[in-house]
Symmetry: C2
Subunit: 279 residues, 2 copies
C-alpha cells in the first residue's frame, strides 16, 4: 500500500518506520522541514506527502494533536483518495470524531478514529522506532457504515497487525474516552501530583521500584496533555473524584488507627487486582 | 563470616542465597519447618540457626515483620554473639530501633536498623533470589556508638556491598521513616486505591505502560503492609494529605476548564521530575 503519514513525531515516526519495514510505500509530512529531511535521509519516508500525493494513499495516518488533526482533515477534504482510509492517532476520540466523521462521508473517504496504545515519556522523531507498537493494542472507533462491514473491519485489522500490533479493538468514541480517562489520563495526572511532595528532592537512595513506577510519566509533554485532558474533562474529572475519595478513605483509616479496617481495604485492593488480571 | 538469617521469606531467602554465593557460612531459621527444609535441600543454608548456633554468628539478619523481629530479639538476648552485629530488615525503623537499641547495648551486641530497598510484589522463599539486591541501596540506622566509629561503618558497608548492594546509606530511624512514607508506603496505598475504580474491570486493551506501573503493587501482602503503615501513621498520613491536596488542585483546574492553569501544573510537575532526576 501507499501510506501517508502526517506528523513525524514519536507516533508518526514509529508508524513510518514500521510501515517501511512491512514493505509499504511511505509518504510523510511534518511542519518542521528539518524533521522531514531527517526522515528522508534515514529512508524512513520515500517521499513527501502533499496535496498531489495525498490522492495516492490508500491509508493516511494523522499523528497530530487533536485540534491540529481536525484542522488538517478540514483543510484537505478534496485531496484524500476516494474510498481510502483516513485514521487519526489522537489520545481522545469524541472531539475528533464528532468534528470530522460526517464531512468524511460527504467527501467520499472513510474516517476512522484510532489510538495506538503505546508511547514513552519521550517525544519526537528521534525517539521513534519500528518496534514501538510491537504487541500493543490499537483502539479503532469506526462509524456505523464501516462497523457493519465485516470485510472492511478485517482489512483494517490486517493492516495494523501487519505493523506489529498485538490486537485491534473496535469500540465507540465515548467508551474509548471513558476508559482512557482511567487507564492513561488519571495515571499521568497522578504521576505529576505525586512528584510534588516536598519529600521528592530527598528521595535518593530511599526509593525502590514502586516510586520509580509512580513518577515515571511526570515527565510529560504539557502542551499535548493539556489538550487531551481538557478535551476529556467529564470522564477525567469523574475518575479523579473516585481516586480522591478512595485515598481519603485510606487516610481516614490510617488516622483512626483501625488496623482491621486498613487490612480490609488492602485485601480488597489485592483481590480486585487479581480479578482484573485474570479477566 | 558465619551469617545467621531469621525468616527465610523473600528477603531472608534472598539474603541467604547472596551470602552463600559470596562464600559466607549461612545458618537459617524459619517458623515453617518446610521452608527451612527446602532451603537446606537447595543448599541455601548450611545448617539450622538455634540458641546454640546463634553465638557463632558474626552477623544475624532478622527478616521478619516488625513486631516479630522485636520479639525475636527480646527472646534471644542471651544467645547473640558478644560484639556481633544484629541487623533487622524491616520497612520501618523507629518502632524497631526504639524497642531494642538499648537492650542490645546492655547485652553486649550491636543492633543496627536495616532496610534493603528491594522487593517484588511476590512473597515467600520460592521468589527469593541471590540477585534481588543487585545494585540496590540498603539503608542502615546505626546507634551513635556505631556511627562514631568509622571502621565499624566501613565493615558494615563492605559486608553489604559484598552481597551485591550498590550503595549503603546511613541515616536516622526518623529520617528513614519520613522518606519511606513517601517513596514506598504512599506508592503502595495509591496503587491499592487506583485499582478500586469501577473502570478497572474493563481496562483490557485500553491500558499502556502507565496503567500497569500504577497498579503493579496493588497485589501486596496485606498482613505485612498493615503493620508497616500503622507503625508509621504520622508520616504516612502527612504524605497522603499532601497528595490528596495536590490531586484536588488538578481536579479543580480540570473542572474549571482553565487551560493555562492546567498547563502550569503539568509543567511544574515535569520540571520537578527533571530536577529530582538530576539531583
Amino acid at each position: 500500500l501507499t501510506v501517508g503519514i502526517v506528523g513525524l513525531g514519536l507516533i508518526g515516526g514509529s508508524f513510518a518506520k514500521s510501515a517501511k519495514e512491512f514493505g509499504h510505500t511511505v509518504l510523510g509530512f511534518d511542519l518542521s522541514e528539518q524533521t522531514y529531511l531527517e526522515a528522508k535521509l534515514f529512508s524512513t519516508v520515500d517521499g513527501v506527502l502533499d496535496n498531489a500525493s495525498l490522492g495516492k494513499c490508500e491509508v493516511v495516518l494523522i499523528a497530530l494533536y487533536p485540534s491540529a488533526a481536525v484542522r488538517y482533515i478540514q483543510e484537505h477534504l478534496a485531496y484524500f483518495k476516494k474510498g481510502g482510509f483516513v485514521i487519526d492517532c489522537c489520545g481522545i476520540k469524541r472531539v475528533v470524531c464528532d468534528a470530522v466523521q460526517s464531512i468524511a462521508d460527504e467527501n467520499g473517504f472513510m474516517f476512522i478514529g484510532g489510538h495506538p496504545m503505546a508511547g514513552t515519556q519521550f517525544t519526537g522523531f528521534k525517539h521513534s522506532r519500528s518496534t514501538l507498537f510491537k504487541n500493543a493494542p490499537i483502539i479503532l472507533t469506526p462509524p456505523d457504515s464501516v462497523s457493519s462491514d465485516i470485510l472492511m473491519l478485517e482489512r483494517l485489522k490486517q493492516f495494523f497487525i501487519g505493523l506489529g500490533f498485538g490486537s485491534v479493538i473496535f469500540t465507540s468514541p465515548s467508551e474509548h474516552d471513558k476508559m482512557i480517562a482511567y487507564t492513561s489520563q488519571l495515571a499521568h495526572i497522578l504521576s505529576s501530583a505525586y512528584i510534588k511532595s516536598p519529600s521528592a528532592m530527598g528521595h535518593k537512595g530511599f526509593s525502590a521500584g514502586s516510586y520509580k513506577d509512580m513518577t515515571r510519566v511526570a515527565r510529560l509533554n504539557e502542551d499535548m496533555w493539556t489538550e487531551l485532558f481538557m478535551d476529556n474533562r467529564d470522564y477525567l474529572s469523574a475518575e479523579l473524584g473516585i481516586l480522591i475519595d478512595n485515598l481519603t478513605e485510606y487516610k481516614s483509616v490510617v488516622d483512626s488507627g483501625d488496623k482491621a479496617a486498613l487490612h480490609t481495604l488492602l485485601r480488597e485492593g489485592k483481590e480486585i487486582k487479581e480479578r482484573v488480571e485474570r479477566s
